[in-house]
Symmetry: C2
Subunit: 206 residues, 2 copies
């Protein structure tokens, strides 16, 4: 179920950004309206975890895995919400004349989607070193976000018509940065399950 | 421990917004640098929950409470992160000449803090009707956020000097809106624990 959630979450982020780049209103609307499957999956995962704990009383690594699975499902559901946020902002953006070709935002999306795929794989395979690689990629996403912000600000200062669409692109790049944060959470849970070590907040991080 | 986390999270949000309104750089810096206690508390809560599950194998409402407690601690920790985000943005904002007196942003902060206090009380006292009242307040916060956005846009379109600080205030009002989302998550977990009913995603919501 987590694999399915991960795949759905990634597809929705990709569809939102593709719809933005192509100015494809109907593709964007599909993302805005398509949040139900991932929400249902989250509730199924949580119910399954509670049942597992009640019936099988797992211990050690299995117990950590089940507890962490409810956190991972929450992260995946939030990524689905962020895809909706991107799509809602994209709907407003495409009403304006484009400011510039969109290069860095699709790049941010690619990085965020890859982080998500690898983090989830690390969690499910209990591979801590794979999870560590995700933590390193988050810096790249933060750098791209800063770059997008500074570039858009320049356009906005030079042309008032760029202000409204510029704000929208700044918000979209923030949403993508937050998707990277959720992928990082999943990677940290992979380390927690595998090594019983809490790498959150930099504790025990290399 | 959750009570302490809630109190710390609320104080940090309040301090960040007060620092913003007063233009008090040193108060803002205290928020930027003060994330460790709440992060440590989150890890303590999670470890305690895993230990509780392993040693006492709770069932029914107690089991749901322990599983939900790890989600609530994650929400409280994210609220602490958002206080840092507000403070970081405020640091940049106070370098500029103020655009306008800040009225709606402190109001949003008051609503978000009250939602958090009530949601946590509902969770700890297992009071579902109190939790329902939090779900209703979230709309108020979304409305204020929309109002802040439109008003700032007017200033930015009329005066290029308002563009940079305007973006900062838009980002801060988004952070406050997200604090309301986390309070909503906690309220939904209160309903889940108390009634075994999943009110997330509007399921079973009045």
């Amino acid at each position: 179920m987590l694999v399915t959630m991960g795949r759905v979450a990634e597809e929705r982020v990709q569809a939102a950004v593709e719809g933005l780049v192509a100015g494809d209103r109907s593709q964007i609307l599909d993302v805005v309206d398509g949040d139900k499957p991932i929400n249902d999956l989250q509730m199924d995962v949580d119910n399954r975890c509670v049942t597992l704990l009640a019936l099988h009383q797992p211990v050690a690594v299995d117990l950590r895995f089940v507890v962490a699975a409810t956190r991972v499902s929450a992260d995946l559901e939030r990524i689905g919400d962020l895809a909706v946020n991107i799509a809602e902002t994209a709907l407003r953006y495409i009403e304006h004349r484009p400011i510039k070709p969109l290069i860095d935002i699709p790049r941010m999306s690619t990085v965020a989607q890859r982080m998500l795929t690898i983090a989830l794989e690390a969690f499910l395979e209990r591979n801590a070193s794979l999870a560590e690689s995700v933590l390193l990629e988050d810096d790249q996403l933060d750098d791209l976000n800063g770059q997008v912000f500074r570039e858009l600000l320049t356009y906005m200062l030079g042309n008032t018509q760029a202000i409204e669409p510029g704000i929208d692109l700044i918000l979209i790049s923030r949403h993508l940065e937050r998707i990277g944060d959720h992928a990082t959470n999943i990677a940290e849970d992979a380390i927690f399950v595998t090594e019983g070590r809490d790498s959150r907040h930099g504790v025990g991080r290399r």
